[in-house]
């Protein structure tokens, strides 16, 4: 108990918060730097019609960034939709039915948690290149028609690591689900399909939504697996930034980071709002 009011604890906690936020503040501040080399903060940039937001304007005209943004969002949306459906099905199966290979299924869902991401990354790289080699040869595909790594392979890989997380979250929600309301619906003449859509799904919806949010953010954030599963024309934002870091560090990257951080913050606040209004 006593520790709770200790000024020491408050002080240390404040320092840890500072540690968590100082890098982010520095990052955003340097997006307004006048110096192109971006080593020392010279003064607030004030150039062109955009004034202090000069680097954000430069960014908005950068075709590579726009392409990478489009790729990142396409991958995240498609993989989220598919992994949410599959993960919810898995949660229902594991929570409600006994079937052969149940234990095996449960164990397999833990693989992505206990195996380093890089091993999964090279795993999908080896898988896709071996499969594509065989298929290209068998089907006689040449030139641009050859199957290669790209958006498709990234999406399929993202679905793989998202399913376990969706299943985990939805299953937690199903755990506290009172099945008597389903029985009531059936007693009142609803068939199983209608019962699922009108009774079960609405009441597990917050879990499904939370699971899909998790899948979406995991996909947006992913670097390692994308790094190995991606190919020409399928660069995502994290991959793009990583490529830049090895060469030059310009305020443009800071502007990109600032936009990213602020977008994520807004999405988080919005989802928090939604959740609060739901529980209220």
């Amino acid at each position: 108990m006593g520790l709770r009011r200790s000024p020491w604890l408050t002080g240390i906690s404040a320092l840890v918060y500072l540690f968590l936020y100082a890098p982010i503040i520095v990052l955003i501040a340097f997006a307004f730097n006048a110096s192109r080399t971006n080593v020392v903060f010279t003064q607030v940039v004030n150039q062109g019609p955009c004034g202090p937001f000069y680097w954000f304007c430069v960014l908005s005209r950068n075709q590579d960034v726009l392409n990478a943004t489009r790729n990142t969002l396409t991958i995240a949306v498609v993989s989220t939709v598919i992994s949410t459906i599959i993960g919810t099905m898995a949660a229902l199966a594991l929570q409600r039915y006994a079937f052969p290979a149940k234990t095996f299924s449960e164990v397999s869902l833990y693989i992505p948690i206990v195996i380093p991401e890089i091993v999964m990354g090279i795993g999908v790289l080896v898988l896709f290149s071996a499969t594509f080699n065989v298929l290209n040869r068998a089907l006689g595909l040449v030139g641009d028609h050859r199957l290669t790594l790209g958006l498709g392979t990234v999406i399929v890989s993202h679905i793989a690591f998202s399913i376990p997380f969706v299943a985990l979250v939805v299953r937690a929600r199903l755990h506290g689900f009172d099945r008597s309301i389903e029985e009531a619906a059936m007693d009142l003449g609803a068939n199983e399909w209608i019962t699922f859509w009108r009774v079960t799904l609405p009441s597990i919806a917050p879990g499904v939504l939370a699971g899909s949010m998790l899948a979406f953010t995991l996909s947006l954030d992913d670097f390692v697996i994308t790094f190995f599963a991606t190919g020409p024309g399928a660069t995502t934002l994290p991959i793009y930034i990583f490529g830049l870091l090895r060469n030059a560090v310009t305020p443009e990257i800071n502007a990109l980071s600032a936009v990213w951080i602020i977008t994520v913050l807004l999405v988080l606040l919005l989802s928090q709002r939604l959740q609060n209004s739901e529980t209220a």
Partner: protein
Amino acid sequence: MSSLQRVRHRENQRGLALISPTLLWMIGLLIIPLILVLITSFGRRDPDGNVIYAFDLSNYIRLTGLSTSQPCGATPAPCFDSLYVTIMWRSLVLAFQTTLLVIVVGYPLAYFVARAPARRRNLLLFLILVPLWTNFVIRVYAWIMILRTQGVLNGLIGAILGLVHIPFTPLSMLYTPGAVLVGMVYEFLPFMILPMFTSLEKIDNSLFEAAADLGANNLRTFLRVTLPLSAPGVVAGTILVFIPVMGTFIVSDILGGSQVILVGNLIQRQFLDARDWAFGSAASIVLMVLTLIVTVIYARRFGFGDEIAF
């Protein structure tokens, strides 16, 4: 068929139908790739960088440093090249250091948030989550800005020392093992705080009151009540931190430069620069086995941690 059997049969079919897409993905994109990596690790590289499939242990022997094919200068065979063993050892040590530091730094904050008044708790927790959702690569980038020679930290120290007229030569902090450690701690701190918070929050206040009633002082209460009851969170956090740190290559690549090569960097280079997939696969298998061994020993000793699903 009895009606019971029929029900069971229908259950089986439903369950299998619902789980089958998951199994397709888990087998197709996790299990088969792992088997392919294992097969590749016994292969060889041809001059064009393609894999020749064989059953050959040379990649693993090369990792142990007991090279049979490569010349070792003037020393007669067998000779020992410690390069890869050093890399493995460095990765293990760094993963242990990171985990330990993250516990030490994270515990007070987790405690502070868990014991904060309920109305403020959500906000405080939310503030820990925000950095987690700003992209991993972006977070490493921020540390370049802070740690480099003309960076923010040196500027800050210089400015403070300048006030008291002490001359200051900027420290070179970037591209050192220390920079990598700081980056790792920063990246993985929230993964430790969240499960620790979950455990700490569950502790019933009446336990603290009971301890106080029975005459225990703060330290004793902490050691005998708080610490044991928060152990599952620490265990879960350790698993969530240790495994990814063992395999990460971004932090060391960006903050360590060529100074700090970890297993992750070794694997990445074999796959992208050196194009020796067979050797890279062998290194991955060793990484996976090493991680699993440590995790299993740890889980045997402390349990798997109930807070893994935060």
